[in-house]
Symmetry: C2
Subunit: 348 residues, 2 copies
C-alpha cells in the first residue's frame, strides 16, 4: 500500500483513519453478539474457538485475497494463489496449536478466466491440502467483474481448552520467532522488479512469498507442550503482530534488532537494493512464521522441542515487559516501534 | 448478466462455456478430497454436512457478494447489504432444515469507504442476526481496490442424520414452493428503473429484493416432520434450482405455469412494463424461498404444517417424473425448461 503521507493524514471520515485493527474492534463491539456458552473465543484472535464436544474444540478462520491488493499477475501465478489461499488459513490454525480439517472455498472469477487458470489454482490448492490432510467440503463460484477474489474458510480442531491465544503473554516471557521473517517481503520486492528476480538469490525468497509453509507441526507441538503462553502467526509483520499480542495480553515488549534472524539471501538482496533487511523482517508481513512467548526458564525445552519436531530454526528476539507498546533496541538506542506491518486501510 | 449472444457462444476456452454448475462439478472432481467419515455431504448441496457429535451434525455454507455482479449502489444500500449477506447463508441452512448459529464475515472495502457505510452495513447484519439468533464470531477486514466484496460463512446445526438434501426427490412427489417467487427480480427491475420505484407497488417487491426473509422456521419444521424428501432454496430461480434437485435425485419434473404463485404486485408490475411475471418467477433468482418435494399422500399434513408454523403461503407447482429435465406445461403446450436462473459465467 502507499506510504504517501497525504493518504495517511487524511482528515476525512473514511477508513484510513481507523486502520484494520480499528475496524475489527469496531465490528467486535457493534456487530451481532450474544451470550453463547459455546463461543470460547470470538473476534480478535487468529481463529474463533467453539466448544463442540467434551474432548475437542472447533477452530474457524476466514481469509480473503483480492487482486490488486494482495497479488497481481506479476507476483502470484494461479498455482501459488491456490496454495497461498489455503496457507494463510492453515497458518491461523497453526497459531492456535490446532489441526486443520475442512476447507470451504469461494472463488470469484472473471468470465474470461481460462480453464487452465482454475486447473493451476486447484493444483496449488491440492498440493498444500494433501500435505496438510485438509479436505475441500464446499464452496461458491461466482462471477466477479472487478478482478479475482478468493475467500477460504478453514475449520480445524484442537483438544478442548488447549488452544493458544494471543492474550496469554506474561511478564519476563521470552519472545520467539520461527524461521526467517522478511523473506516473503524480499521475495515480493524481487517479483515486482523483474530484473532482480533472475538473480540466483531469488528462489528462496520468491518461494517464501508464493508458497509459504505454515508451521503446523511446530505450532501443534508448542501448544501440546504447555510451555507457550501466547502465539500468533506473522501475517502482518513482527511490529504489528507482536503489538497485537502485547495489547491483548496488557503488556509490552522489548525486542533487539541484533537478534532478529535475517536469512543470508535477504541480507544479499538488502545489500544490492540498499534496503535494510530489518525493515522487511519487522514490517513486511505474509511470512506465516509463528511468534510466541514462553517463560525464560523453559528456553532449553523450547529449543529441543523445535529441533526434534521440525528442524525449523527458532530465535529469541526479546522479552515481555510491563510498559505498553513494542520497543526496538538498536545500536543507536531504543525506539518505539509503531505497528508498521501491513495494515489494510492505514497505508502501513 | 449480459444476454449478448456473442458472449454466450464464444468458442474460447474461458469459463462461459462451463457455467457455474460445471465449474463447481469440476472443482468437486479435481479439488482436494479424501476419505473422511465425518464429511456426510461435501460439495454439491446448499450446505456441507459434517458429523461432529452423536446428536448433532454441523452445517456449513459460504457465499460471496461482489459489487457490480450482485449489487450496485443503486440496487442495494449498505444496510440491505449487511442483511442480505447473512440472509443468503441463512437460507442455505434453512434449505437443509437446520438452525444457524455462528457467522464469520470477510469484508473487502475501499479505503475511501465511510464509517457511516460500515455502521449501516452492521446495522442491517444485526437486524437479521438478532432475529435469527446468530452470533458473529470472527472475520477478516481487507482493503479491496476493485470494489466492495463481502463473504460470509455460516455454521449451523441439525439433529444428526436429519438434514434434508437435494438428492432425495422421489417419483410422483409433489413439487412445492413457499411464498411468491419472482418478487425479488421484480424489485430489482424497479430499482434499476428509478422512475418505477416511486410507484405504490414498489415496497413489497423492493423489500423482497433487498431484505429477503429466509424461511428458517418453516424449513426446520418441514425437516423435522420427516415428510419432505428433497429441499433447496430458490437462489437462482425455479428453473435452475429445480433442475439441481432433479439432476441430483436422478429424476425429472413437470411444473404447471398456471399453478406458479405470482403476487398481485408482481402482476401489476408485469402489466405495466410488458414483462410476463412468470419469467421473473422461473428465472429471476434471489428469492430465498424454499422449493421442496413430498409425497402426494401428505398434502394435507404439509399444508397444515406450513399454516401452523409460519403462515407463509405454500403452493404445489408440479410433480416429479421419471424422464430427466424440467418441463413446463403452459396453455400453448409443454416446453422443456432449461436452467435459466442466474448462473454465473453462463450469461443466463
Amino acid at each position: 500500500m502507499s506510504n504517501n503521507r497525504t493518504d495517511r493524514s487524511s482528515p476525512s471520515n473514511d477508513l484510513s483513519g481507523l486502520g484494520e485493527a480499528g475496524i475489527i474492534e469496531w465490528i467486535r463491539l457493534n456487530g451481532p453478539t450474544r451470550e453463547d456458552p459455546r463461543l470460547l473465543q470470538g473476534i480478535g484472535d487468529d481463529c474463533a474457538v467453539l466448544k463442540y464436544t467434551d474432548t475437542d474444540d472447533l477452530l474457524v478462520t476466514i481469509d480473503t485475497m483480492v487482486e490488486g491488493t494482495h497479488f497481481t499477475e506479476q507476483t502470484l501465478p494461479p498455482d501459488a494463489m491456490g496454495w497461498k489461499a489455503l496457507a494463510t488459513n492453515i497458518s491461523d490454525v497453526a497459531a492456535m496449536g490446532g489441526t486443520p480439517k475442512t476447507a470451504f472455498l469461494s472463488l470469484g472469477l472473471s468470465r474470461k478466466t481460462s480453464k487452465e487458470f482454475i486447473e493451476a489454482f486447484l493444483s496449488g490448492l491440492n498440493d498444500l491440502a494433501q500435505k496438510s490432510d485438509v479436505v475441500l467440503a464446499g464452496g461458491d463460484t461466482i462471477e466477479s467483474r472487478i478482478g479475482c477474489v478468493i475467500t477460504l474458510t478453514l475449520i480445524g480442531e484442537c483438544p478442548h481448552g488447549r488452544a493458544v491465544y494471543r492474550h496469554g503473554a506474561r511478564l519476563q516471557d521470552d519472545v520467539w520467532v520461527t524461521g526467517y521473517p522478511g523473506n516473503s517481503a524480499g521475495g515480493l520486492a524481487l517479483l515486482k522488479e523483474k530484473g532482480l528476480s533472475r538473480s540466483h538469490v531469488a528462489t528462496s525468497l520468491v518461494t517464501a512469498h508464493q508458497r509459504p509453509n505454515p508451521r503446523l507441526d511446530l505450532g501443534k507441538s508448542l501448544a501440546r507442550s504447555n510451555l507457550v503462553h501466547a502465539m500468533i502467526d506473522l501475517s502482518d509483520g513482527i511490529s504489528t503482530d507482536l503489538w497485537h499480542v502485547c495489547r491483548q495480553s496488557r503488556v509490552g515488549a522489548t525486542i533487539e534488532a541484533a537478534t532478529i534472524p535475517i536469512s543470508e539471501d535477504l541480507k544479499g538482496l538488502g545489500d544490492r537494493v540498499g534496503t535494510s533487511p530489518l525493515v522487511w523482517a519487522l514490517h513486511g508481513g505474509e511470512d506465516y512464521e509463528l511468534l510466541f512467548t514462553a517463560s525464560k526458564s523453559h528456553r532449553n525445552e523450547i529449543e529441543m522441542l523445535a529441533t526434534s519436531v521440525s528442524g525449523i530454526p527458532i530465535h529469541r528476539i526479546g522479552k515481555i515487559v510491563e510498559e505498553a507498546g513494542v520497543s526496538l533496541v538498536t545500536e543507536e538506542g531504543m525506539i518505539e516501534l509503531a505497528p508498521g506491518g501491513y495494515s489494510h486501510f492505514s497505508g502501513g
